[in-house]
Amino acid sequence: MPTLEVNDLRIRYTRSGPEILKGVSFNVEKDDFFAIIGPSGAGKSTLIRCINRLVEPNGGQIILNGKIITNMGKHELRAARRNMGMIFQEFNLVERMSVMDNVLSGRLGYVGTFRSFLRWYPRSDIQRALELLEKVGLADFVDKRADELSGGQRQRVGIARALIQQPQLLLVDEPTSSLDPKIARDVMRMIKSMSQDAGVPVLCNIHDVQLALEFSNKVIGLQDGVKKFDGPTGAVDKSTLDEIYAMEVL
């Protein structure tokens, strides 16, 4: 059974507006590092956000480990979101909170409202947060406020926050666009190795084709809401890229 099954996913933001995703289907297996590539405006970010329903799809089905996400109620959906870690382009840390509290916020789905108000996390969570910060090389920054960090460091906090959820799937939205090329590669390497260690499949949308081909084992090519390519990274050649990016104009 695949970890994630997406069937005929469709969305339009407004009733009369254009369809952003026009029936996209694919499967993510347990050990996949899936890269979604395509020109800007193809619907990559929308696709990622549909998986955990930050954006509500209009049609189609999303199944995570046998559970149908698309017809869940609010309460069930929150429980399902705990199983999906997410990493963002703009890091989306809480700027005025410490690095430790930012990582711990990944556990919010598990602690009650009152406890989260007092920031009373279980000892095991704090220990796990420290381990993860150690792994991303930020053990010395525990008490620093998030807005004191550089871009690369912030993204590493973002990675730790996503992984402390102990997710079954990692959703990654343009993790490198706000970073310079060298740090971008470091961050990709970190996402890859840490997801492998945790045994979590990754669904990563990334516009940088070179990075996509370097780190992924499978690729989806999106163009204007339509899946143009779906296959192992090795099968991507110049003609497939030409086809995916055919409509791109400056």
Binding site: N52, L54, R78, A79, A80, R81, R82, M84, M86, F88, E90, F91, N92, L93, V94, E95, R96, M97, S105, G106, R107, L108, G109, Y110, T113, S116, F117, G158, R161, Q165, L171
Partner: protein, 272 residues
């Protein structure tokens, strides 16, 4: 561009500038006429010129306020502290009450937009459009004389200001962290606790200090309608024609306002 086209374009720009100039001078004229009209109807028409008398009598009237009546000093301590407390407690109460109001009145997080948003905005407008003295009168008739109606009046008057600025700050927040917190499986309250509050806290506290400073001034006049503090002493001195005493009360008010200025200066520094 050919010579002829260039020439006509140039003429066009010139005539447009001329038109704008004419409109501007017409507007200046309207403003001047309005000011003159207001002076005529309110100052020249409305003042009882016979009672003003000579310049000398104006100064004589002012001189009655000097010297200050220092024998009043001992009696002033209690109302001065009371005034200060009215301002502090009134501000604190309004800070608490402003939280649900700004939550309702922030377009992006209001719980149920068609109902809660107008409620929030309505409370805001009501609070701001009624003067603190009027609020004082309302609460004196509701809960009786003393400091308590003063506290209520001050807080009612402050809710509007604090919640308006807080709601606007909420509408301006970066939605990114909210999305991140939501994606961890957090509930709506947790999203507000972690995504919204840290982003607006500096604005909220800054406004709280500013409002506290203003409330010290407001608290000094609450006594005029029987709502406690220095205003009552002030009123008493005035009706007893003890103008020296009035000056003493004004000195006490200046002292309090000075504390407000200094306090808010350091408070604001601590936040930034």
């Amino acid at each position: 561009m050919s010579e002829a086209v260039y020439g006509s374009k140039f003429q066009q720009i010139l005539s447009r500038r001329k038109k704008h100039k004419a409109i501007r001078y017409a507007l200046y004229g309207v403003v001047v006429i309005l000011v003159l009209f207001s002076i005529e109807s309110t100052i020249i028409g409305d003042t009882d010129w016979d009672r003003i008398g000579t310049i000398g009598s104006v100064f004589r009237a002012l001189a009655r306020f000097l010297p200050p009546d220092f024998s009043l000093f001992a009696q002033l301590l209690k109302p001065t502290i009371e005034t200060f407390m009215i301002a502090c407690l009134g501000t604190m109460l309004s800070l608490i009450l402003a939280i649900p109001v700004s939550w309702f009145a922030a377009y992006n997080i209001t719980p149920y937009r068609p109902i809660t948003y107008p409620i929030g905005r309505g409370i805001m407008t009501l609070s701001r459009s009624v003067h603190e003295i009027v609020w004082g009168l309302i609460f004196v008739s509701a809960v009786g004389l003393g400091a308590f109606p003063g506290i209520l009046a001050i807080s009612m008057r402050s809710i509007g200001f604090i919640s308006k600025l807080t709601a606007e700050a909420i509408e301006d927040i970066d939605p990114g962290p909210l999305e991140a917190i939501r994606s961890t499986g957090a509930n709506q309250l947790q999203v507000i606790l972690y995504g919204v509050i840290p982003q607006i806290l500096p604005v909220y506290l800054g406004n709280a200090i500013f409002q506290w400073d203003i409330n010290i001034r407001r608290a000094t006049i609450m006594g005029l309608v029987g709502a406690g503090g220095l205003g009552l002493t002030f009123h008493r001195q005035l009706v007893m024609y003890n103008y020296g005493g009035v000056t003493t009360v004004i000195i006490a008010i200046l002292f309090l306002v000075g504390i407000g200025e200094v306090g808010s200066y350091y408070g604001r520094k601590a936040i930034l």
